[in-house]
């Protein structure tokens, strides 16, 4: 079985001090730590598990600058066989639709039975690339997949995670796109030695021209949405930031909770 996984290198922003850049449409990347998008990590692991079970090979594709090679190498170290990086100045400011189109041009000529993406990315969070990619390739898709139950006779039976703890089981024809939910597996650790072992594997790089694309098919001209601005939500009423040592803060929390009737 031939599996393609689309992955992205994203900044880790959970504990970082975020600064909005000069354009007002993005954040400063300087000083941030980058890693594979969390959902994509689960997607790569799932692809490797499927390969181990059903045979075949895994190809990873990432759209991004040279630094994205680091993320591709991590996937190679996990067990992917081939890596492709898509890069061109014209790809800048692509929305989910344009990214799906660029990916589709790279994937189109390749053999594949299954395409995996993460449910969404940690940075842009569109959650559109997987389903849009399926539409462009005119193949079925299932989103928020938290279990791949079986793959047999050219079909896949997968579980989708719904609200309220509900699972939906869907059966779809291959090839198909699945967007993978976090928690579907336990992604393996990638050791430094593992990364070193794949350091010499060539990463194929394709640009706009090599993908037979026109400039107006990518970036802002090729997108359906344009980011106007990003901003921090204004501080709401009623919030109180406590300061001091851990002990002092704990004391203040307790006295506030007592005062407000939270604890007896």
């Amino acid at each position: 079985m031939e599996i393609i996984v689309c992955i992205k290198r994203v900044p880790e922003t959970a504990d970082a001090d975020i600064v909005i850049d000069k354009t007002g449409r993005d954040i400063e990347r300087e000083g941030l730590v980058f890693d594979i998008n969390e959902w994509d990590n689960y997607a790569v692991e799932e692809a490797i598990l499927l390969k181990e079970k059903y045979g075949g090979s895994v190809t990873v594709i990432s759209l991004g600058p040279e630094e994205a090679n680091e993320t591709l190498r991590k996937a190679l170290a996990m067990g992917a066989y081939k890596a492709i990086r898509l890069t061109d100045p014209a790809f800048q400011d692509s929305d989910g639709y344009a990214i799906a189109r660029i990916l589709s041009r790279a994937i189109g000529p390749l053999p594949y039975d299954l395409i995996l993406t993460g449910v969404q990315t940690e940075d842009d969070g569109y959650g559109q690339v997987g389903p849009t990619l399926a539409e462009i390739l005119q193949i079925p898709h299932a989103s928020i997949v938290n279990k791949i139950e079986a793959i047999e006779n050219g079909r896949a039976r997968v579980h989708r995670e719904l609200e309220g703890g509900l699972d939906e089981v869907v059966d779809l024809e291959l090839p198909a796109v699945l967007t993978i939910q976090s928690g579907i597996n336990e992604p393996r650790y990638v050791s430094i030695m593992g990364i070193r072992r794949v350091a010499k594997i060539e990463i194929k790089v394709l640009d706009l021209h090599e993908l037979s694309m026109k400039p107006d098919e990518a970036g802002e001209p090729g997108s359906m949405t344009v980011v106007e601005r990003v901003f921090f939500p204004p501080t709401g009423e009623g919030a109180q930031i406590l300061e001091g040592t851990a002990d002092e803060i704990a004391d203040k929390v307790i006295s506030i909770l007592k005062e407000k009737g939270g604890v007896a």
């Binding site: 880790e12 504990d15 970082a16 001090d17 000083g31 730590v33 890693d35 996990m78 336990e186 992604p187 393996r188 650790y189 990638v190 050791s191 430094i192 030695m193 593992g194 990364i195 070193r196 040592t245 851990a246």
Partner: protein, 377 residues
Amino acid sequence: MSGEKDAFLQKHDLYGCFQCGKCTGGCPVSLKSDLNIRRLMIEVLLRDNLGPIVRGEDIWDCTTCKTCTLRCPRGLEPMNLLIGLRTLLVEEGHIPKTLIDALESAYKYGNPWNAAKNKRSDWAHELALKVLPQGDQAANLYFVCCTAAYDTRLQNVARCLVHCLRQIEYDFATLGDEEICCGSEIRRMGEEGLFEILMHGNIESFKKYDIRSIVTTSPHCYNTIKNDYAADGLEVRHYTQVLAEAIGKKNPFSGEIKKVITYHDPCFLGKQNRIFDEPRDILKNIPGVTLVDFDRSRENSLCCEGGGGRMWVEASGQGPRLAETRIQDAVEMGAEILATACPFCLLTFEDAVKTTGNEERLRVMDITEILDEALCE
């Protein structure tokens, strides 16, 4: 995992083992875990495939206290065999999630605590320390340690140590936010490649700022920089050595502490580096202190279970934690303060004081904190 076998036999000299069992006999975690290091020595030798041996959960129980290696009458190194087996698991990638988080954090942020790089020197905010990357100069580097830099409890130890070092007029600076993890625990978790990256990063910093002399908060940093890095022309000392030497010349700590104190020898300071007397000398020099020793002290000190990556993974065994046993022993001896000189010991003991309900009876303190009180009074 069969290809590695020959390399293992050679590297760890397994044919030299005559199965006397002193390693397992001395192993502190064998009291409560199925981990049996003597059995591992022979199984690696006899089995064709190492996979089933290493995939047991108990491989993560070892605290790398090194008792097995230190007691081996044949001079073999069972602890390194165990770490080598962990390396196989790390290479395979199937290790506990909490260890993956610690390792990935050490790679990305330079510390195993998932804390931001630019918050590393927050603990020293109002101390006006000299910082080498800011252009300051000093005769010695104070290597703070990730745990002392980020853990809110341990930050107090770092601050107290700064007070003490200033009191003895010791000239030092830190690397500020440029300090990265020493890699001690990373190596002992079996991630040798990452350890090398961290080691080279630190050695580069030492060269860049022309550092010849280092003092550490943690016995783990001390041990790894001194023995694992083994860099030429670098003098590495644990703070207890620096303070004991200064106190020997002229005791600046005059305040009285009328308490019964017992001292716990951290494995990485005591049995692994034979620094037994310096911490005791410091405590004995504080007026009013009555120092009592554990039955199991010095070379026989009972491990707190904080080393070897165990700060990031729970042991498989049942029964009381060794730290809880230690706390009970201290209380029975009539100690009012349990002193130690290691960040991991401090954290494991403070937890154990709470879980055994001894918060009213026993205080757990780092030696620097006791000295700081002696300074203030």
